[in-house]
Amino acid sequence: MEVKLFGMIAEKAGAETIAVAAGTVRELRQAAEARIDGLAAMSYAIAVDRRIADDALKLDGNEEVALLPPFAGG
């Protein structure tokens, strides 16, 4: 599935999206951390269908998924 990247994470990855295979948010996190240097050491959240998701959430591959570095609005 395609994963949207933002801010510092997009910068580290050198891309706006990456493609990974994952059946849960936890697998997604592990796959992303294997792909993006330094991500494992960062504070970030994972959004599934535009909501912050827990590691246990199952994915069927049709969700809109994104990796979100710390928020900085305002």
């Binding site: 933002f6 801010g7 959004a47 570095p69 928020f71 900085a72 609005g73 305002g74």
Partner: protein
């Protein structure tokens, strides 16, 4: 205003800085609402802070913030914040705008505007919404530093 229903989904993002004239237009639109007694407004302005905070060795200042956002999610996340504000305070209107793109130091990047019959409600709603937007909306800020570098802003 009739366009201010709490459930209405809107785009809060403005490309570039928020123009003070836009703030004036927003205020002027409320002249037909004679049940309003007070408007409270918060405006965020980009500060030329020392990069890296007090611990940093750099003496260079932030010259701008380049804002990006997960726009669809941010607009969706505004809905519950808006509903919470209307549920907790007797406000008549609530408007929120945030910049995206490069906003230079001294320019406005954030505009929160509540109106109510009485000032206390408008004041508290603006304080709440300002804080919740900073906490809950996926907006990202790259601080551009005078020496040519950059660093990522974080509200946490």
């Amino acid at each position: 205003m009739s366009t201010d229903k709490p459930h209405k989904k809107r785009d809060i993002f403005i490309d570039g800085p928020i123009d003070p004239a836009f703030v004036a237009e927003s205020i002027a639109k409320h002249a037909t609402r004679t049940d309003i007694g007070g408007h409270e407004i918060f405006l965020g302005q980009v500060r030329a802070d020392m990069a890296g905070g007090t611990g940093g060795g750099s003496s260079a200042r932030t010259t701008a913030i380049d804002y990006t956002a997960y726009r669809d999610m941010a607009n969706e996340q505004m809905t519950p914040i808006r509903e919470e504000a209307f549920a907790r305070w007797p406000i008549t209107c609530l408007h929120v705008y945030h910049s995206q793109g490069v906003i230079k130091a001294g320019e406005l990047c954030f505009f929160v505007f509540a109106s109510a019959a009485h000032r206390q409600a408008a004041r508290e709603a603006v304080a709440y919404v300002t804080d919740e937007v900073k906490k809950r909306l996926p907006i990202f800020g790259k601080e551009i530093i005078a020496d040519g570098g950059h660093q990522w802003k974080s509200n946490t």
